[in-house]
Subunit: 465 residues, 2 copies
Amino acid sequence: MDGPGEDASSSVTKNKDACSPLTKGKKKEVKEEEESGLLGLSYKKDENFGEWYSEVVVNGEMIEYYDISGCYILQPWAMSIWEVMQTFFDAEIKKMKIKNCYFPLFESSSGVRQKAKDLNKFAPEEVAWVTKSGDSDLEMPIAIRPTSETVMYPYFSKWIRGHRDLPLRLNQWCNVVRWEFSNPTPFIRKGILPLQPSRRPIERRLYEEFLAVPVIKGEKSEHEKFAGGVYTTTVEAFVPNTGLGVMIMVHGDDKGLVMPPKVASVQVIVIPVPDKDANNQGIFDACAATVKSLEEAGIRAEADYRDNYSPEWKYSHWELKGVPLRIKIGPKDLANNQVRAVQRDNSAQIDDIPMADLTERVKEMLNNIQQNLFDVAKQKRDACIHVVHTWEEFVEALGQKKMILAPWCDEEEVEKDVKARTKGGDMGAAKSLCTPFEQPELPEGTKCFASGKPAKKWTYWGRSY
Amino acid sequence: MDGPGEDASSSVTKNKDACSPLTKGKKKEVKEEEESGLLGLSYKKDENFGEWYSEVVVNGEMIEYYDISGCYILQPWAMSIWEVMQTFFDAEIKKMKIKNCYFPLFESSSGVRQKAKDLNKFAPEEVAWVTKSGDSDLEMPIAIRPTSETVMYPYFSKWIRGHRDLPLRLNQWCNVVRWEFSNPTPFIRKGILPLQPSRRPIERRLYEEFLAVPVIKGEKSEHEKFAGGVYTTTVEAFVPNTGLGVMIMVHGDDKGLVMPPKVASVQVIVIPVPDKDANNQGIFDACAATVKSLEEAGIRAEADYRDNYSPEWKYSHWELKGVPLRIKIGPKDLANNQVRAVQRDNSAQIDDIPMADLTERVKEMLNNIQQNLFDVAKQKRDACIHVVHTWEEFVEALGQKKMILAPWCDEEEVEKDVKARTKGGDMGAAKSLCTPFEQPELPEGTKCFASGKPAKKWTYWGRSY
């Protein structure tokens, strides 16, 4: 059975930024022989976000849906981003003398049931149970870990026998499994385990420097904090916390994915634009020389020499896949010893880059793209923040799906009450997201938006996903 | 429930190389306050290989047994070796333009049952089945992948639509799960997926250059070749093919693990040897300076400053963990501005290394240790190879658990017949291991050891595990 992405692009719509007529909307339907077709998306980000997302991750070759509903294959295009991030994260934690370990995938039933209660991080019905090997029943069902902490904590207490064993600095890279009930499909999250607050600055850098996604640094409320922690700092991107997903959602557009250069496995795609009367071998050679120069300068570059696709098809293809910079070389460029470049993020075209300045200019453009993506995302994010002072303003902003900054009395009972009063309907109840470390001024006498008591801090609120 | 390692060291035996009396054999029983105890192994490698192995991996802090029988935790000491190897392997395959992907952990039931038949790589009863989420039965049971190929092949045929999509070069790092029946415990193998023969030279380098384990390059027989492959080249270490396990088995001794320097997360351990009348702060400072110099030279070094363990305890501890080189600094060394070093592999001690020559000398010693480990392992391996010409010689050598090199007619029926005739008893039937690329001379008229027909090649044979 196919996943949701399979139905996403059966109709054909016009890609407004393309310069030739569209024939097919879906990559897998493009025949090898077909030369003139471009690749468009059927859905627009602003009009149907969910379908747009499904389409862009499939057609951009990030994932392939799988014959078990809800499972998917991470294709090389997605894996390479994950690898860039993991390499950075892993090097940073090693600097901090944190060591990697690996705990089993399985957990005993008693452990899981107890921890589900204690941690409140997953529901018992989300846990997948192995009950058979072959045709034989197991003596006791065994759970597939729904989270990593439940497996680890008993061993930590075994390993920490005294103060000399502290600090225990461990990291684990792993998958966890949760059966999703609202949409009955298994969902595998490739996650980073929050073993200690010290990882937070690294995580912030991953979001801001690599994925170009602005985050707010702050502290979780008593009610929302990580079970077992004395305090929980947080890095909030205010979209579902999947790493890669947030990047797609924030930067992607109606032409497809938009990769921040720092994580793109191909930063520059070089496309030859041959012509029937031109020195096409010369053009191909110039493309190869361009790739070579860029690679030698540490830039991840590739050329697309395929002879069964037109240059226009290739533009759309690499736009869909989100490559930050596209370089074109045609007869005129060859004659002038220069290249043309187009930025993926804003479609800006630079027409006359001398080969002599190539690597300098490309580096500069990639840096600019990385920064622009962040700046634009930050502007959009800031425009979504609504400051409210009263319950009425709060409810209205919540209905508009805004992120809300409100003065709060910081009482757990009040947060529970806010949850209770906003429950029901399609959307989740409101909850506190975080109290930002950078606090706006809170004038004497400011009241809590929910309780009317004296406010102690500004806190962000939103819907639970 | 504890695993087999838990019972391995309840008795106390003497560590023949230690220089002080032994008190406890097991690390987890050593109290923090205890200062004089050393760490010995209860079992000897030559006398009880299985128990020795269990003890060495647990007491050497490679793994910790887990509350699900047969599952274990990979501790940082083991993970770091895995990471060194993975980093090398990953960089090498990237040079070959092989890209990483990630397929789901789950597989549909129809797929598994069919592939179990086709591939003949795992038995249906080894497959773990998820049948429930929470308390609800799944509509269809879902398998946890027992191997990766079964999941991948259908998608390969989907992605390869024509010759331009070839070669498809993919790699996947993943766990697979098999329920073990002979010893009813789940066994999780952290494996490298053999997607194409081109990875073989890298794998050989991993074994020989990193793990210092000699391998024989050759070709699998028709009967033993990888299902679906036209031919299967092989790299045989002639021990269970687990990567890390083979290294432990080949190099480990009665004092514990022996790490080849290239994969050791700590290559040099520096141990202060204070004395009550000495300038102990000076000794500690010299240790710190030694670590700093080594680290700056790219050597992975650490000092053990713990004040609740004696130097002798630390020697045993780091010997047990297999650190290739131990450096001691005492009052006399401090006075002479030198250090003493002891090699883990052969206990050779070098008493007067001037600080000025430190990094040069240490690099040289680490290189020698790496080479020595390989040479010694190769000698031992070669001594185990038995050349036979007749069925009687074959059966005798098999009974002695030798690795056998025999002239063979290269007929599949004959191999099946050899299997059938050697079945029964505790040990597995005999099977061909590989036909080495480097063939000894095969004189005209040499006959097959099994069929008496004219021999076509020399082939290695052994028991199946």
